[in-house]
C-alpha cells in the first residue's frame, strides 16, 4: 500500500460539497493562480467507479516504446476492434520549447511510437494536434522540440489547434463559470482522443498530467496566450469542465524523464523511467501523482474529479504492469503555501 493519504476530508464524515461550495473559493484567480480551497474536499466514495492503469518500464527514449504502449493498450482492453477505422488524435504537451531542455515537452519518440501502435491497430488516420499555451508559433515549437523531424519521418500530420475553426459546445461539467467551450473543429471531428502529457509538477496545480494537458485543446485565438480565460475561470474548475466535455478516450503519459520543481516550464529533469497508460484520466493522474510521491487528494482538480469523472482512490485504481512502489520517486515541488501538504509523507 502506498503512503497513507492522510488528508481527512469532511466527505469521509458523510459531507459532500455542493457545487456552490466547490466554486466558492475558486473565484480568486489571476495569472494561473487559484485559491479554490473548496475543491480540496473530495469524495473517497467513488460511486463504484473502477479503472485499470498500466505502468510500463521504459528506461530511455531509445527503448522499445512501441512494445511498451502496445502492451499497455492490450492490458487495459484497447484492441484493434476499438480503434479500427477511427480517426485518432494524439495530443502531446508542447507548451513551449527551449533548446537542450527536452523535459519540458512530451518526447517525440513517445509520440511516434504511439502513431505506430495506432496504425498497427488499423486506425483510419492518426494525427498530432496541439494548441500551445505560451508560444503561438507552432512551426517554431515543432522545430525546436524535434517533433517536426519526427513527424516528417513518420509521415504524420500536425494540426495547430490554436488557429483552428471553432465551434461552441455547452460545458458538460459546469464546475467553472465558462458555460460553453469553444473547441477546435478538428478535435470535434476526431473519433478517439489521446492525451499524451509529460509528467511534471506544476507551480499552480501541483501536478500537470493527462487532465491538465487538455488545456492545450483550447484555441488560443479564443482563450489567449497564455490561456488566461481559463486562469480567471479557475484552473482546477477549467480542467474539470474541459475533461467532462471533451471526454478523452485514453492517456499515455511520458514519464521516462519528467520534470520536478518549478514546472511546467522552469523545472529540472527528473528521470522516472516509465510510461503510464489508462482510459480513465483521473485514475491515470492519481497514479502519476503517487509515482511522484505526491498525494492525489492534495491536488484540487483530482479531488473534485474523484467520483465525478473517475476514481482516484488506490482501492479503485487497479495498477497493472510495474508496481508504483518499484518506480516511485519523490518529485520536488516549489515552496509555496498553496501547495502545502501535497507531498506524501
Amino acid at each position: 500500500m502506498n503512503q497513507p493519504e492522510t488528508r481527512t476530508t469532511q466527505l469521509e464524515q458523510g459531507w459532500r460539497p455542493s457545487r456552490r461550495e466547490l466554486l466558492g473559493a475558486g473565484a480568486v484567480t489571476v495569472l494561473g493562480g487559484t485559491l479554490a480551497a473548496g475543491l480540496r474536499h473530495a469524495a473517497r466514495h467513488e460511486g463504484g467507479l473502477r479503472a485499470d492503469v498500466f505502468i510500463s518500464k521504459a528506461d530511455s527514449y531509445s527503448s522499445d516504446l512501441v512494445g511498451a504502449i502496445a502492451d499497455g493498450l492490450r492490458e487495459i482492453g484497447v484492441t484493434a476492434a476499438s480503434i479500427r477505422g477511427k480517426k485518432v488524435l494524439l495530443k502531446p504537451n508542447l507548451v513551449e520549447t527551449a533548446r537542450g531542455e527536452p523535459h519540458v515537452n512530451t518526447h517525440p519518440a513517445v509520440i511516434v511510437a504511439a502513431v505506430e501502435v495506432f496504425r498497427r491497430l488499423d486506425a483510419a488516420e492518426v494525427f498530432v494536434a496541439e494548441g500551445q499555451g505560451h508560444r503561438r508559433d507552432s512551426q517554431l515549437v515543432l522545430d525546436e522540440s524535434g517533433m517536426n523531424a519526427a513527424l516528417l519521418q513518420s509521415r504524420t500530420t500536425f494540426i495547430d489547434l490554436n488557429h483552428d475553426d471553432v465551434a461552441a459546445v455547452a460545458s458538460a461539467g459546469r464546475w467553472s463559470t465558462l458555460g460553453k467551450l469553444h473547441l477546435p473543429r478538428t478535435l470535434l471531428s476526431a473519433d478517439f482522443i489521446v492525451s499524451m502529457p509529460k509528467l511534471k509538477t506544476h507551480h499552480w496545480a501541483g501536478v500537470t498530467c493527462a487532465m491538465k494537458n487538455l488545456f492545450g485543446v483550447m484555441p488560443g485565438i479564443v482563450y489567449g496566450w497564455p490561456k488566461n480565460v481559463l486562469h480567471y475561470a479557475g484552473i482546477p474548475q477549467s480542467i474539470l469542465d474541459i475533461n467532462a466535455t471533451v471526454k478523452p478516450h485514453l492517456a499515455i503519459v511520458d514519464a521516462v524523464v519528467g520534470m520536478e520543481g518549478d514546472g511546467p516550464i522552469m523545472g529540472t529533469p527528473k528521470p522516472l523511467g516509465c510510461l503510464v497508460v489508462g482510459t480513465n484520466l483521473p485514475a491515470v493522474d492519481a497514479t502519476c501523482a503517487r509515482l511522484m510521491k505526491l498525494n492525489p487528494y492534495g491536488v484540487e482538480y483530482l479531488t473534485a474529479a474523484s467520483g465525478a469523472l473517475g476514481p482516484i482512490h488506490e482501492h479503485n485504481v487497479y495498477q497493472r504492469g510495474e508496481t508504483i512502489a518499484s518506480l516511485a520517486s519523490r518529485f520536488a515541488i516549489i515552496d509555496s503555501p498553496h501547495l502545502q501538504g501535497i507531498a506524501l509523507s
Binding site: R135, R136, D165, V166, N228, H231
Partner: protein, 303 residues
Amino acid sequence: MSASWRNTLLGRLLAAAHPSGGWGYRLAGEPSPEPTAFGSLALSAFGATGDVLDAAQRKLAEMQVPNGSVVVSPDVAAATWPTGLALLAWRCVGLRESNPFAEPIARAEKWLLAARGETFVPDRRIYGHDTTIAAWPWIDHTHSWVEPTSYAVLALRTGGMNSHPRVRDGVAVLLDRAIPGGGWNYGNRRMFGADLRPFPGPTGVALTALAAEHPSTQVSEAITYLAAELTNVRAPLSLAWGLIGLTACNRRPAQADEWLEETAGRIRAAETGPLDDALMLLAGSETCPIPTAPATRTAAMTG
C-alpha cells in the same frame, strides 16, 4: 535580392482569398480578422490594390460588432484582440484621400481607448511585473499581454494618439514586461523567482511597437537577443515578426533576405496558411506599411 519567393507568396495569397473576402488561418478556412488584416497590409505593401484588397477591408468591417470591437467570431464576443489589427489595416492601406472606413475606424478607436486589461494587487513573490497597469488583453476581462498591447499601441499611434495616456500606459507595460537579458515572451517576465524565456515572435512585435520610443535598455537588449536568435529561426511567424521588429529599429540583419527565401522555400512544401504568407511578405517588403513613427492627429484624420 530574389523576387521569386515574393511573387510566389503574393500569388498564393491572392489565390487564397475567401470568396466572401478576407482570409482564414487555413486555406479555405473561414475568414478571420488577423489573417485578413495582415493580408491587406501585405497586398498594400506590394501595390496589389484591387478587388481582393477591397473585399478584405470590407470583411474586416463586417467583423466589427456594434460596440466597435472587431472579434474573432460573432460567437466569441470577448475575443476582441484583433481590433487594433483591423484599425491598422483600415488606416494604413490604400492611403486614399478620404478613407471609406472612417466610421468603423472611429468606432474601433473609441472602443480601444475604453478597453482595459484586468489589474490586480501585485504579489512580488509570484509575479515579476507590475500587475497594476492596464493595457490590452487578448480576451475581455483578462490581464494585459504583450502582443495585443503592441497591436493597440501601433493602431492608436496611427490616429495621432502617441501622447494619449492609454498609449503611454501601453508602452509602460511593454517596457515593464521585458525579460531580464533581453526580449519578450507573451508577457510574464518572471514567476516564482525564475526569469522566464524570451520568444522571437513577441519580441519582434514589441520592438515594432517600441521603435518610435526613446532609446531604452529593454529595446537595445531585445535587439541583441533577436539578432542572435533569428540566425536559428526558420519558422515563418517568428522569423517574419523578428525581422519586422529589427527593421523598425533600423537593425535589419544583412542576411534577412537570405533567411526569408530559405523559409519561403520551406513553407511552400509545408502548406502553411495565409497569415504566414502575409507576414513573410511584410517582412520582405521594402516599404512595410505598419507605421512605427507616431502620426500627427491632423494627418491621421485625413487618412
